[in-house]
């Protein structure tokens, strides 16, 4: 948006020597904590002409299951105040289609690729995990147990502690790749789910996915989405996501990737202070593809201004008085 943020000043670039930005997610090292949210970045290649993907902490691809998925009928998205409701329905090429069409590009990147996977059964999740383990060169797997837009699979696993634990353990047995469990926000308390994922062998949590939502066209009296309901994302969900990160961070020891409405570095810093080790830019990619790099530049500036030497000093640094 602002040309200044898009072209970081030279002194900021030099500062990389003084400030450590790298973070660790399980066995995966990220050169900086800024990544993107699954489903908002395609398979990376679509944005390759608009930004340097190798400057990101990692690239996260759209959800993939074993076979190809056609997705939901249109309209699939609707813009609402400070947000977007989507019901895409996880359209995708399946494991083989992905490997053929997108992996040749992704495997050449200098930064890790995180592959978001899903299934309709515990066995399918495990099988997809096994296939990507076999592939070699994958940075990490993100288990999508929280998509609200599909009838089977997705959120049904993320809102039932027992099923969640089964999915995570089955994937844990199928691969040595770092596992990130993408948590559903649609629970009364996130703590038991976060613990179930940790105990099942997840190396990290992604907090959070979209919120179930709906919009109606008052002239036609019809829902604005063909799927009737969808998942709400964008800046309007940020404060809710911050609270979930804070609660999850108190419940587990594994790192958290925070996401939900990040538009700038201040938003990202807020997530880190709430307890996130890394952050992901989501809906903002749709309207400003430079957002993740702007967040990174702003984060570096903030650390310098605060006299901090390591980005990890921000993690969970919110000051909360004990009651």
């Amino acid at each position: 948006m602002k040309s200044e943020a898009r072209n970081p000043k030279p002194e900021v670039a030099n500062a990389t020597r003084e400030v450590n930005l790298s973070v660790q997610i399980g066995g995966m090292r990220m050169q900086n904590p800024v990544t993107v949210a699954s489903g908002t970045f395609g398979y990376g290649v679509e944005y390759a002409q608009l930004l340097d993907l190798n400057q990101l902490g990692a690239v996260v691809v759209k959800g993939i299951r074993l076979g190809p998925v056609r997705g939901n009928p249109t309209p699939r998205t609707v813009e609402v105040a400070s947000g977007l409701i989507n019901a895409i329905g996880l359209q995708g090429p399946g494991v083989d289609g992905f490997i053929k069409k997108y992996w040749p590009f992704l495997k050449e990147l200098k930064v890790p690729t995180i592959i978001n996977i899903w299934g309709t059964t515990v066995e399918e999740y495990a099988e997809v995990a096994r296939r990507f383990d076999e592939l070699g060169g994958v940075g990490a797997l993100e288990l999508n147990v929280s998509c609200p837009n599909i009838k089977e699979g997705g959120a049904q696993f993320g809102t039932d502690c027992k099923l969640l634990s089964q999915v995570v353990s089955a994937c844990r047995k199928a691969t040595r790749l770092p596992l990130i469990t993408k948590m559903s926000p649609n629970v009364v308390s996130i703590a038991p789910y976060a613990k179930a994922a940790e105990e099942g062998g997840s190396d990290a949590l992604a907090v959070t996915n979209s919120y179930p939502a709906m919009a109606i066209d008052i002239e036609t009296r019809r829902p604005r989405l063909a799927n009737i309901t969808g998942g709400l994302t964008g800046p309007c969900i940020k404060p809710i996501a911050i609270k979930l990160v804070w609660e999850a961070a108190k419940a587990v020891k594994i790192p958290i990737i925070g996401m939900g409405g990040i538009q700038n570095s201040a938003d990202a810093i807020e997530f880190m202070m709430a307890g996130a080790t890394a952050v992901a830019v989501g809906t903002a990619n749709f309207y400003e593809p430079q957002t993740a790099l702007q967040v990174l530049a702003g984060l570096r500036d903030f650390l310098q201004r605060q006299g901090l030497t390591d980005v990890r000093q921000l993690v969970g640094s919110v000051r909360v008085e004990k009651v």
Binding site: G42, G71, E79, G83, F286, Y287
Partner: protein, 266 residues
């Protein structure tokens, strides 16, 4: 490394004037995007005064002159309403040129017959300008004010045939009527190119099939990211044994009419 096909740049408004009661013509200085534009492509504009309405708005590129491009738009919603109030020297952020456009006929190739509904005309100017063969433009609208830029097509030496539903300009009726009359006179070496509302495109598709002439249609589907990642703007495209959703912003907006699986559209 391949040269870029799309770029993001801050573009400065040169002019933004009312063309008719309903339509505006915006011209922007865009040194990086303008030279790349192919007929039928679009620009994705971020209108910053929109604030809480976050998304970019896609606009077909109308004309390209030097390092400028222009669009024609109707002030219908929040985005276009605010855009219409922007002034010269104001800035917009643009990503473009985007999408797969029209196939410009080769020299000595097909004679193009363009079919436009309202400001669908705008998306076809570059095609008319860059086509080695002059052709005919059939343009239709509800009323006289819906018919735009006729003179600019005539200035290119094209035959323009207008229709309005209320008869206030040109022939009274639908744009497909003079098209059918023309095709009855002969179809050899002719190709249809269309841009306009979906029912019109569907009718053109049927006519193309009936007369067995090739047709390229610029499809209009609600769009979000514009670059192929969000999968909002999909339409059903035949795959031989069935159909799959393809992206209007990337595989389209222009599709061969024979590939569109109309039976699967809403």
């Amino acid at each position: 490394m391949l040269p870029p096909t799309m770029v993001e740049e801050s573009v400065r408004i040169i002019s933004n004037e009312r063309a008719t009661d309903l339509y505006f013509r915006l011209v922007v200085q865009s040194p990086r995007i303008a030279p790349l534009v192919q007929p039928g492509q679009f620009a994705h504009l971020r209108i910053l005064p929109l604030r809480e309405a976050l998304l970019r708005r896609p606009f077909s590129i109308f004309r390209v002159e030097g390092y400028t491009f222009s669009i024609l738009y109707k002030a219908v919603g929040k985005g276009t309403e605010l855009l219409s109030r922007m002034r010269p020297d104001d800035e917009l952020n643009a990503i473009g040129p985007l999408g797969h456009g029209f196939t410009v006929p080769p020299a000595g190739g097909e004679m193009p017959l363009l079919v436009a509904g309202g400001y669908g005309m705008a998306a076809m100017y570059l095609l008319a300008q860059r086509s080695p063969q002059r052709g005919i433009v059939f343009v239709g609208g509800r009323r006289r004010v819906d018919i735009l830029c006729e003179d600019e097509f005539r200035a290119l030496g094209w035959d323009v045939r207008a229709t309005t539903e209320d008869g206030s300009h040109g022939e009274k009726g639908l744009v497909t009527q003079p098209l059918i009359a023309e095709l009855k006179r002969g179809t050899a070496g002719r190709k249809l190119f269309a841009c306009g509302p979906t029912p019109m495109l569907k009718a053109v598709s049927r006519i193309a099939e009936e007369f067995n002439v090739p047709a390229e249609l610029s499809m209009d589907e609600h769009m979000c990211c514009g670059v192929g990642v969000c999968l909002t703007c999909v339409i059903p495209i035949s795959t031989g044994d069935g159909w799959e959703y393809q992206r209007t912003c990337t595989e389209g907006p222009v599709f061969d009419s024979r590939l569109i699986a109309w039976e699967a559209t809403a």
